[in-house]
């Protein structure tokens, strides 16, 4: 069994991984950049090592440095979290060469699934349905434009090496074609260092539903049912839930089988996710595989009762899967809301800054996976995710009510957050009724963007009074410092000393 794990990540996921390690009696090693010396993952770990400057390509993406620290700390294994090096085949390879256990799949699985075009071919060969579109990575703008015309609008342009909505553009009109190709290529280049793109037909009313899979090194593969991730903004997930309101028992069984077949087709080992697009007629298409732990993994953990990080570590240690497919049952309903440091009233601009005050929700059925604390300054170099709020209850409606209650309790001052936006999502009829697809936010934007019902005179007055009280107290304190008793010393003397200091 693995005895010590280095976590090559930061933020909430690093803390999340360390929690499971601690429960298993495994020592943890954190790595951190200049900007993260005071980050919570450093404080949570048994050991912590500095690995470079704040930009991630000089720290969290620096393979040599991370390997060096792993050896120095004598860690047996590396957990990559999500993002950063988690889907980097070279890194997985390098770990193997250096005799370090990579808690994730082989370089072969990562590169086959990581390249969306190879992934597509492999899935077609395995009999898993895919979305119509191009197979080759396209570098040339004119070729891309020609192919788009052949497939017919609307189409989606995606970075071959992409993920997380970066380097992705939807084209609806001919006029936007060239600008969109350029934007996708430029974003892909800066985010992944590779500007190849591919193109696919755009499904009109799509639901984004993904299946969690687990596979051990002995050839056993199971799925842990679905996650519904259709509430997306700019192709980034905002709210996830399981079970999906769209799902039927028959469809779950069919998609689950295909998810397992997809994982087996690349000899997958570890925890992974098969993403599907599902239309209103319940046709489904393989979208991509994420060869790592997902941000939204907690909803599965709540409903299936499996700690996915522990499973990852056991699998990496060479153990057999703890569960068989027939043991996997969904109990109740779980919802996750992603709390971002961003300003919902100002086009979701990122809002880095200092947390002045934070109160996290508590009580029955509430889980928060976060990493910020009072006085912590959220750096501008990394993802704006502050925390994930997860609620569980026996029924979907109870889980929604509980989420609303938890969002009400959640107070973060100092940076703008998406909490108010998430509250509005919970109040939207389409969400409440479970009738939504990936256009949910766009469709409901009037309700979601509306400023809250105008504040009564009384609530404005209360705000004014609070500022008044605070300001007058502040003035009083300042005056008190000014007029402080001098304990017999001459006021002029301290005045002179003060002047001297100010002159310096």
């Amino acid at each position: 069994m693995i005895k010590k794990v280095l976590i090559a990540n930061r933020g909430e996921i690093a803390v999340r991984v360390m929690r499971s390690c601690r429960e298993m009696g495994i020592k943890t090693v954190a790595v951190f950049s200049d900007a993260d010396r005071t980050s919570l993952h450093v404080r949570h770990a048994d050991e912590a090592f500095h690995i470079g400057p704040s930009p991630s390509n000089e720290s969290y993406l620096n393979i040599d440095k991370i390997i060096q620290v792993t050896k120095k700390s004598k860690a047996h294994a590396i957990h990559p979290g999500y993002g950063f090096l988690s889907e980097n085949a070279d890194f997985s390879n390098r770990c193997e060469k250096e005799n370090i256990i990579f808690i994730g799949p082989s370089a072969y699985s990562i590169s086959t699934m990581g390249d969306k075009i190879t992934a597509r071919d492999t899935m077609m060969a395995a009999g898993v349905p895919v979305v119509p579109g191009t197979k080759e990575a396209i570098k040339d703008e004119a070729v891309a434009a020609r192919i788009i015309k052949e497939i017919g609008l609307p189409v989606m342009i995606k970075a071959s090496a992409g993920g997380g909505g970066k380097g992705m553009r939807l084209v609806k009109k001919d006029a936007d074609l060239i600008a969109s190709i350029r934007a996708a290529k430029s974003e892909a280049l800066s985010a992944f260092g590779d500007d190849s793109v591919y193109i696919e037909k755009y499904i009109v009313s799509p639901h984004h539903i993904e299946f969690q899979v687990l596979a051990d090194k002995k050839g056993n593969t199971i799925h842990l049912c679905e996650r519904e991730c259709s509430v997306q903004r700019r192709h980034q997930k905002v709210v996830e839930e399981t079970p999906s309101p769209l799902m039927t028992t028959e469809l779950r069984e069919k998609m689950g089988k295909d998810a397992v077949a997809a994982a087996k087709a690349v000899n997958y080992v570890g925890a992974g996710t098969i993403e599907f697009l599902v239309d209103n007629e319940l046709n489904y298409y393989f979208l991509e595989m994420n060869t790592r732990l997902q941000v939204e993994h907690p909803v599965t953990e709540c409903v299936v009762g499996v700690d996915l990080v522990k499973e990852q570590i056991r699998i990496a240690s060479g153990e057999k899967l703890t569960h068989k497919q027939k043991d996997i049952k969904q109990t109740g309903h779980a919802i996750e809301c992603r709390i971002y440091a961003e300003d919902p009233d100002n086009n979701f601009m990122p809002s880095p800054g200092k947390i002045q005050q934070i109160t996290e929700p508590q009580g029955l059925g509430v889980r928060t996976d976060g990493y910020v604390y009072e006085g912590y300054e959220i750096p501008l170099y990394y993802d704006p995710l502050i925390s994930k709020l997860i609620t569980w209850s026996e029924t979907r409606l109870d889980a929604i009510q509980r989420m609303k209650r938890a969002l009400y309790e959640y107070k973060i001052a100092g940076v703008k957050t998406s909490i108010s936006f998430l509250e509005k999502i919970m109040d939207t009829k389409d969400f409440y009724e479970g009738r939504y697809d990936t256009h949910f936010i766009e469709k409901n934007q009037n309700q979601l963007r509306a400023s809250n019902e105008s504040c009564s005179q009384e609530c404005e007055d209360i705000a004014i009074i609070t500022a008044f009280v605070d300001y007058t107290e502040k003035l009083k304190k300042l005056q008190a410092i000014h007029l402080a008793p001098t304990n017999g010393k001459s006021g002029w003397k301290s005045y002179g000393r003060k002047q001297g200091v100010e002159r310096m």
Binding site: K166, E187, S190, A191, A341, E342, D343, D345, N346, M349, P350, S351, P352, G353, Q356, Q357, E374, L380, Y381, Y382, D383, P384, Y408, K411, A413, G414, S420, N452, E453, C455, E458, C459, E460, D461, I462, A463, I464, I465, T466, A467, F468, V469, D470, Y471, T472, E473, K474
Partner: protein, 169 residues
């Protein structure tokens, strides 16, 4: 001592009438409020008024006189207006009218690209600077047509929120 406080366009007169420990009587534009006001955490006040419980967060702005105030469902920018503030307001009125000619980002970040040069003509809607923060790139566009007067930052620079980046003529 009465104070003037500005909330968006509303200017209010606020005066403390009575204070006994945390029980306050305050006049806001002539309306009398009897409240129980406690600072419960740094920057957080619990206010009881007529049996209702308000939780109010205060975040100090760039100066000690500016506050961002959050009640549960609303967020306001407030400013304490005194003689000094009044003077600045009258002096800066002209500057505010010219807002369109200065491009700035509301958030801190890093300058990715500046696709224009000083002296170049731009149309309204042209992208003049791209700033990245927290892995998202945002394009800032010229609010009006004109000549690029001055570029105040370089590609690769780390910038503060609201810092002037580019000025247009």
């Amino acid at each position: 001592m009465p104070l003037e406080i500005r909330l968006n366009d509303r200017l209010s007169n606020v005066e403390l009438v009575r204070k006994e420990k945390h029980y306050l009587e305050i006049l806001v534009d002539g309306k009398l409020y009897k409240l129980d006001v406690m600072q419960v955490e740094r920057g957080v006040y619990s206010i009881l008024y007529n049996g209702k419980s308000y939780n109010v967060e205060l975040i100090e702005g760039d100066s000690q006189k500016k506050y961002n105030v959050n009640t549960h469902y609303h967020s306001f920018d407030l400013e304490i207006i005194d003689a000094e503030t009044r003077y600045f307001l009258s002096r800066n009125k002209n500057l505010l009218d010219n807002d369109e000619s200065t491009i700035s980002s509301p958030m801190p970040g890093k300058v990715v690209k500046i696709p224009v040069k000083a002296g170049q003509d731009v149309e309204a809607g042209d992208t003049v600077i791209i700033v990245s923060a927290m892995k998202m790139e945002s394009e800032y566009k010229a609010g009006k047509g004109g000549k690029v007067k001055e570029i105040l930052v370089n590609e690769g620079d780390t910038i503060e929120g609201h810092q002037p980046l580019i000025t247009l003529e």
